[in-house]
Symmetry: C2
Subunit: 193 residues, 2 copies
C-alpha cells in the first residue's frame, strides 16, 4: 500500500440479518428486499435512505447488497448502487458484470440513479436496472440528483440496458420520507451554492 | 464487517516515488504531476491511462493522488478521479471536501470526466476542476465517456465549480496514445453492444 492509504467501502453488519451469500430472491422479492435495506439503513443510522443490490436476473441469486454509506464512512461516492456494484465486483473478482461466461445481471435500486450512479450503472456491465422511487421523490426531500442527462432511460436502453421504473414506488418513497422526518442530514456537493 | 466483504481502492506503491503526504505543488506543477501519474500507470501496468489529484487550491498542498485501477483491482468504478476523491476523503476524514472550515480544493485530472466522474466531482465538494486531454481524445482511442450531459462545463459552473480545460492537452493526450499503442485493454461497460 502507498503512503496515501486506501478507500474502504463496506456494508453494515446488520445486512447479514437480511441476506448472506448464496441467498436467492424471486423477481417479486427483490424490490422489497432493496427497500428494506434502505429502511433499515435509516433506522440503524448507518447511512442515507437508499438501498440497492445486484442479482443474477434468471436465477435470482443475490450477488451483492448495498446501502448508502456516505456520512458514516466519510466517502462522498459511497452511494447504495456504488456499494452494491463494488461488492459484486469483489465477490466475483471481475470488473465487468456483463463479461463473457457470466449470467445476466441486474441492478435493483430503491430510487432512480443520480448522475454518479447512472455512469456507474453503465460501467458495471449490468444488463437491467430496476428502480422504485423516482428521482423527483428524492428531490422532494432535498436530495440533488446531479448533472444527469434528461433522457437517462433512453441513454441506458441505447447501451443495451433494460430499464424498469416505478416498482413499488410508494413504498420506496416512504423510506425517503421516513429519513426526512427524522431530521437526518440531506447532504450533497453544494446545496448552498 | 458483513459477510459481503469490502471494496478496497488504493493507489499503487510507486505513487510514493512521485509524492508523499505533505508535498506541495505550484499551479504550474500540478498538471505535469497528474500526467506523470497517468503515464507511469501505463508503464507500470497498474491500470488505465488516467491520473488525477486533489490539491488545496491556494497552498498547493497535495491532498491525494489517484490513478485508474479498474482492471488490476477489478472494481468497475475505480477511475482516477474516484480514487483521488476517495483517498482525499479518507486522508481528511470528511465526505465533503468543500465543507466549512476547509480551504478551497480542486480536482486536477489528465482527461475530461466521464459520466461517473462528472457526478463524483459534484458530490466531492471541490470548487474547481482542471483537465488536460479532452473527452474526444479518450474516445479517439476507443474509451467511452458514458451518458454525460452535453454542457457538462456549464453544469459544473452552475454549481459553483470553476472549470479550466485544455491544460497541457497535447502532453495529456500523448499518454492515451501510449496506452493504445501498447495494445492494453480498452474496457468499458459494453463496447460490443
Amino acid at each position: 500500500m502507498s503512503s496515501w492509504g486506501k478507500v474502504i467501502v463496506d456494508a453494515p453488519d446488520w445486512v447479514d440479518e437480511l441476506a448472506v451469500p448464496g441467498a436467492v430472491f424471486s423477481e417479486e422479492q427483490r424490490m422489497p428486499f432493496v427497500i428494506e435495506l434502505a429502511r433499515r439503513n435509516v433506522v440503524e443510522q448507518t447511512g442515507g435512505p437508499f438501498g440497492a443490490a445486484i442479482f443474477e436476473t434468471d436465477s435470482g441469486r443475490l450477488i451483492a447488497p448495498g446501502v448508502n454509506r456516505v456520512v458514516p464512512i466519510a466517502i462522498s461516492f459511497a452511494h447504495a448502487e456504488i456499494t452494491a456494484i463494488g461488492l459484486a465486483n469483489q465477490q466475483l473478482g471481475v470488473f465487468d458484470l456483463g463479461g463473457e461466461g457470466l449470467p445476466l445481471m441486474e441492478l435493483v435500486a430503491s430510487t432512480e440513479p443520480c448522475a454518479l450512479c447512472l455512469g456507474a450503472t453503465v460501467w458495471s456491465g449490468v444488463r437491467k436496472l430496476v428502480t422504485g422511487a423516482r428521482d423527483e421523490d428524492a428531490r422532494a426531500i432535498g436530495f440533488d440528483e446531479g448533472p444527469k442527462v434528461a433522457d437517462w432511460q433512453g441513454a441506458l436502453a441505447s447501451r443495451g440496458i433494460e430499464v424498469v421504473v416505478d416498482v413499488m414506488r410508494t413504498e420506496a418513497a416512504a423510506v425517503l420520507d421516513l429519513y426526512a422526518a427524522g431530521g437526518a442530514p440531506i447532504y450533497n456537493g453544494r446545496n448552498d451554492a
